[in-house]
């Protein structure tokens, strides 16, 4: 608790010092970037944060600072302390933020807003055989992490917490390093991070990748500006999130997929039937009258 307070004070100090020169100027916003599983390289994450912040600054017409986070704890703390206006985060992390984070847009990559996850190992085998083995996993809020694996990656067909010993790591790089260092028998990483010397034991379905979230009720303004922001490497332009689709994802993470139930078979649609609705002789060819062919010559019998 104490440590927290100190950090908060420190944060306030830092903010204070940052804000001091611009006191008369419009309020400064901060963009957080936490992409521990989407971008493997810390430098890349930093550059992206800077580039996006300057784009946003230009479009929003107010100063935007960038802050890149390497660990979920740091990021989550910054959020809870209200330091961030908005953030680009891995979807699983956004889900863990809960209602505080309002999803605004997907940061798509190569035209994809989703990605698959893989359970990789150095040896051949199956997930089944990894029972009781260690699985390196990028750490999020903690208790919610196994839920993401069980509910989303494994689709509810296997309980990650029961099946594996979960080994939390800060990011994808460390997960893979842990694997190499035999600190874990397997690692859970997005498919794009799988290198050739690894064995893919399992691939998940499609899972949302990076999302832009609003953290301080400025979602509308943000949405308006996004169209003009355009692509910021290594991502494409943002794609607005439609309706409740992210809520569904959040729900999936929290509750898992519903239990499968038998589904009804759908018989083919009943089509119209012409003779049922129209008298059929009205549809057949209309033959001309043949009365003229009944004519008889005026010949008379005579003897």
């Amino acid at each position: 608790m104490k440590a927290h307070r100190i950090v908060a004070l420190l944060g306030a100090l830092i903010l204070g010092t940052l804000a001091t020169p611009a006191f008369a100027a419009p309020k400064k916003s901060t963009l957080g970037v936490f992409l521990a599983t989407t971008l493997a390289d810390g430098q890349e994450r930093f550059q992206y944060a800077e580039a996006l912040a300057s784009k946003l600054e230009a479009e929003l017409g107010r100063p935007v600072a960038a802050k890149s986070f390497g660990r979920y704890e740091d990021f989550a703390r910054a959020v809870s302390e209200g330091l961030l206006e908005f953030a680009v985060v891995d979807a699983w992390a956004a889900a863990q933020l809960g209602a505080r984070a309002v999803p605004v847009a997907y940061a798509s990559r190569s035209g994809e807003t989703q990605q698959r996850w893989a359970i990789v190992a150095l040896q051949k085998g199956t997930v089944k055989e990894l029972a009781g083995k260690r699985l390196a996993l990028v750490k999020g809020a903690g208790p919610a992490d196994p839920k993401f694996v069980t509910h989303v990656v494994l689709g509810g067909d296997l309980d990650a917490q029961k099946h594996f010993k979960l080994v939390p790591v800060p990011n994808v790089e460390s997960a893979l390093k842990m694997l190499e260092a035999k600190g874990a028998e397997a690692a859970l990483v997005p498919v794009s991070h799988v290198s050739k010397d690894m064995r893919v034991l399992f691939r998940s379905g499609r899972v949302p990748g990076a999302v832009l979230v609003d953290l301080k009720g400025g979602a509308e303004a943000l949405r308006g500006a996004l169209g003009r922001v355009g692509a910021v490497a290594p991502f494409d332009a943002f794609l607005a999130i439609q309706g409740k689709e992210f809520d569904d994802f959040r729900k999936l993470v929290a509750q898992g997929p519903p239990r499968r139930q038998p589904v009804f078979a759908e018989a083919p649609e009943v089509r119209v039937s012409a003779p049922v609705l129209v008298k059929s002789d009205e549809l057949g060819p209309a033959l001309p009258p043949f009365t003229q062919d009944l004519a008889v010559s005026a010949d008379q019998p005579d003897d």
């Binding site: 997930v127 589904v263 759908e266 119209v272 549809l283 043949f290 008379q300 019998p301 003897d303």
Partner: protein, 835 residues
């Protein structure tokens, strides 16, 4: 014959006496004394024997005297004992010998009536009747005698043969003549040639040319050429249709026997019949020169008629009557010649007078009636011809004449009855057949005009049985077409086009009949044939329009539309085209909709809009109706509902009374408005039209399934089960219903039952595999089984949930290392599609 009855009682007494007396008493038996009558008969017999002897020795006078004596004795005997067969037979024989035939009839007939088995009576009685020309009485009596086949009564065969020749009954005449030849004693063989000549004529009557020729040739053999036999041979040639040879024979005979009139007369008649009037006239003139005979003037008169000189003909015919007053053919001829001069009233008066004068001849009455008919006096014609019917009730003649009278007045019912009566008597009467067919055709036309098509068809069928001609076939076919009896019309017209004289029109009608009978290819062939059979552009246009209708049925709609859009100037053709083009398109649109193809349906309906429906408001409404259905199929439900209302208000001729509620229920169903559709449907289906119950049942089933599905989706198992059970009640075999009911069972914990049903239905319902997989994974935790089931589901290729199920399957395969196949691990297989 001795009378036995008179001696039988004393004989019985004698037998008794003999039985009582000793054997020697038998020697005392003596014949009883004769009665008076018997004695007289004995005397008569001996007188008759003397008469016959005198006759044989040529003593005519003596013979006559003896016969009179015999007759007198027999008559006394008969007076003494009026029922004496012997006496009566004696009277008959003697009276016949004296040519006193009336006496024979008077005396013998009463005794014969009591003893019809007595041939000794039948023989003289039959002969007497015959000599008195009382043939109706003579023939049965003579036939009885002839049946006994007694050589001494040989002459009856000859009598009968000559009667049958007179009555034109060749068959019987031949029988009798052959019996005569078989029975006649050798000494009469010299006269066989005369019998052979008669046989020849009898065979002519039988129309047996070969036998007739053989008889005539037998008669002629070894004898100088006789005119009568040669004329017989000429008739044989005529019978064989060898007219030139017959003519040549007569042309040889006429100069060879210059004084014989018959060859000239026959030759003249032959020339006349052949239309060679100048030569006929030459023969007639020669005949007249030869002798001022009635036959000569009759021929000359007929020549004059043929020369269209009825006045001169009349002169000749009057000459006939001068020569032979009351000659029937002469009277008829005069009547005809008068009528030919337009002197109808005179003709009638003349013939009436002839009839009044006692000319009780069939021909005369026949002609009198016909002359009246030609003069427009139909009532008298019918009256007179009824008389003819009475005169010869066993011949067709009178009925044929009456038929002609009723034909002239257009009284078809009577006319048809008349000819039918004629055919009852003479089933092969060609004239009766032909005119009956015509009369039936007339009546059929009248009936068709009065919308009594079935009756018209019946008449024409009868006509076609009588007269197998193209004209009659066409009439019958046309009536059957109008009566929509297409299969029958097809049969009729196919027979019709095979007959000689078939025209383009027959092929056209056949085309329509086959079209109606739903044989489009054969129909197209017939229309093509019709088009080839005429050079007239209008007729070709009619054939082309017919061909278009056949093409539509064959699915060659574009070609048909092309043809129908360009029919040319023919009014008949353009009427057919106008009536059909929009129909064709609407019909195709509807069949597209039956397959769920709204886009194609819309294209056809656009074409209807372009072509237009002319004055046919009902067709326009029908097109609107089809458009509304297409809108529903496209998912434009509001447009569909509005369109249905526009099309069906007011009620349309082409629609069933319940078309609108049914169509609306269907639209609601497509819209997913299940309760509203369910509410509408029972009322609409209360009075189902033909063909509707099945469709209504399947729509009801679909609505119940959908209701169940909605309930199931919200977890309302009770509601789902209720709806499915209701669906099952109407369609117990419906696999989808059974399957879905199993889903409800599973949810209610009856998993084992559900599994049984799904397994049974797996081959027909793909979703059953999906559900078997779900059960395996969710309830029994058997991922391998689940993977197998889902693989089957995906392999069926008809799963609407393929993407999701593939994901499930691959996930389980990934987690549990369940390989897809020998080709490799699931991960590798899936890697290919990974972004």
């Amino acid at each position: 014959m001795r009378p036995r009855s008179s001696s039988s009682r004393p004989a019985a007494a004698l037998v008794l006496l003999a039985a009582l007396a000793a054997p020697p008493a038998l020697a005392q038996y003596r014949e009883p004394p004769m009665s008076e009558s018997q004695r007289l008969v004995r005397q008569g017999e001996s007188a008759q024997v003397s008469a016959n002897a005198a006759s044989a020795s040529g003593d005519k006078k003596g013979a006559e005297e003896k016969f009179r004596k015999a007759l007198q004795l027999y008559e006394q005997a008969l007076a003494t004992e009026p029922q004496s067969v012997a006496a009566a037979a004696g009277v008959g024989d003697a009276a016949n010998a004296l040519q006193d035939f009336q006496r024979t009839v008077d005396r013998v007939q009463p005794v014969y009536a009591a003893h019809p088995e007595e041939l000794s009576l039948a023989y003289p009685l039959g002969a007497a009747y015959f000599k008195l020309r009382r043939f109706p009485e003579a023939v049965p009596v003579l036939e009885k005698v002839a049946a006994a086949d007694q050589p001494e009564q040989l002459i009856v065969h000859y009598y009968l043969a000559s009667y049958y020749l007179y009555a034109q009954d060749g068959e019987r005449a031949v029988t009798r003549l052959q019996r005569y030849l078989a029975l006649r004693p050798e000494k009469l063989a010299a006269n066989d040639f005369q019998v052979q000549e008669l046989l020849g004529r009898a065979h002519l009557l039988r129309r047996d040319a070969a036998q007739a020729r053989a008889s005539f040739e037998k008669a002629q053999a070894g004898r100088p050429e006789a005119v009568s036999l040669q004329l017989g041979l000429a008739s044989v040639l005529e019978l064989e249709g060898r007219m030139p040879e017959s003519t040549a024979l007569l042309e040889r005979l006429a100069p060879k026997f210059p004084t014989a009139p018959e060859p000239k007369e026959r030759l003249g008649r032959l020339y006349l019949a052949a239309g060679d009037v100048p030569r006929a006239e030459a023969q007639a003139q020669a005949l007249v020169k030869l002798g001022n005979t009635s036959a000569a003037h009759l021929l000359l008169g007929d020549v004059r008629l043929a020369q269209k000189q009825p006045a001169q003909a009349e002169t000749e015919f009057r000459q006939v009557l001068t020569l032979q007053p009351g000659l029937v053919v002469g009277q008829i001829a005069v009547g005809k010649s008068l009528q030919a001069q337009g002197r109808h009233e005179e003709a009638i008066r003349f013939l009436e007078a002839a009839v009044q004068a006692g000319g009780n001849s069939l021909e005369l009455w026949s002609t009198l009636g016909s002359v009246n008919r030609r003069a427009g006096r139909f009532q008298r014609a019918v009256e007179v011809h009824r008389r003819v019917v009475e005169m010869v009730p066993r011949r067709a003649l009178g009925w044929v004449l009456l038929g002609a009278d009723h034909f002239a007045t257009g009284q078809w019912d009577q006319c048809i009855d008349d000819y039918a009566n004629a055919l009852q008597l003479e089933p092969d009467h060609a004239g009766a057949k032909l005119w009956l067919a015509r009369a039936l055709a007339h009546r059929a036309r009248d009936r068709a005009e009065a919308s009594r098509l079935d009756d018209a068809v019946r008449d024409l069928k009868r006509a076609f049985d009588l007269d197998r001609s193209t004209a009659t076939a066409r009439r019958l076919g046309a009536a059957q077409l109008d009566a929509r009896q297409y299969a029958d019309a097809r049969k009729t017209l196919e027979a019709g086009v095979a007959l000689p004289g078939a025209t383009w029109r027959d092929h056209l009608l056949l085309g329509y009949a086959r079209l109606g009978a739903q044989d489009a290819q054969a129909s197209l062939d017939a229309f093509t044939q019709a088009g080839k059979a005429t050079e007239e552009p209008d007729e070709q246009a009619e054939a082309s329009v017919g061909a278009a209708l056949a093409e539509v049925e064959l699915g060659q709609v574009d070609a048909a539309v092309q043809r129908l859009s360009a029919v040319g100037p023919s009014k008949a053709a353009s009427q057919v085209a106008e009536a059909n083009l929009p129909r064709v398109l609407v019909r195709r649109a509807l069949s597209r909709l039956e397959a769920g193809d709204a886009a194609s349906a819309n294209r056809d309906l656009d074409a209807v809009d372009r072509v237009g429906t002319g004055k046919r408001a009902d067709l326009a409404k029908l097109a609107q109706f089809a458009r509304a259905l297409a809108r529903a199929e496209e998912g434009r439900y509001a447009d569909a509902s509005a369109g249905l209302k526009r099309a069906l208000v007011p009620a349309q001729r082409w629609a069933w009374p319940n078309t609108r509620p049914l169509a609306e229920a269907w639209v609601l169903y497509r819209q997913g408005k299940v309760p509203a559709a369910r509410k509408l449907l029972p009322g609409a289906a209360k009075k189902p039209m033909p063909g509707q119950p099945k469709w209504v049942a399947s729509l009801t089933g679909a609505l119940l399934r959908r209701e169940a599905s909605l309930a199931y989706g919200t977890g309302n198992m009770k509601g789902a089960e209720k709806a499915l059970r209701a669906a099952l009640a109407t369609e117990p075999e419906d696999a989808f219903v059974q399957h879905n009911l199993a889903c409800v069972d599973w949810r209610k914990g009856r998993a084992a039952e559900a599994l049984t049903v799904w397994k049974r239905l797996e081959p027909t319902v793909a979703t059953a595999s999906l559900n078997l997989g779900i059960d395996a994974q969710e309830r029994r935790h058997e991922p391998a089984e689940a993977v197998d089931a889902w693989r089957r589901y995906l392999a069926s290729g008809q799963g609407a949930r393929a993407a999701q199920v593939r994901e499930w399957k691959e996930r389980l395969q990934g987690l549990y290392g369940l390989t897809e196949s020998a080709s490799g691990a699931p991960a590798e297989a899936a890697a290919e599609e990974t972004p």
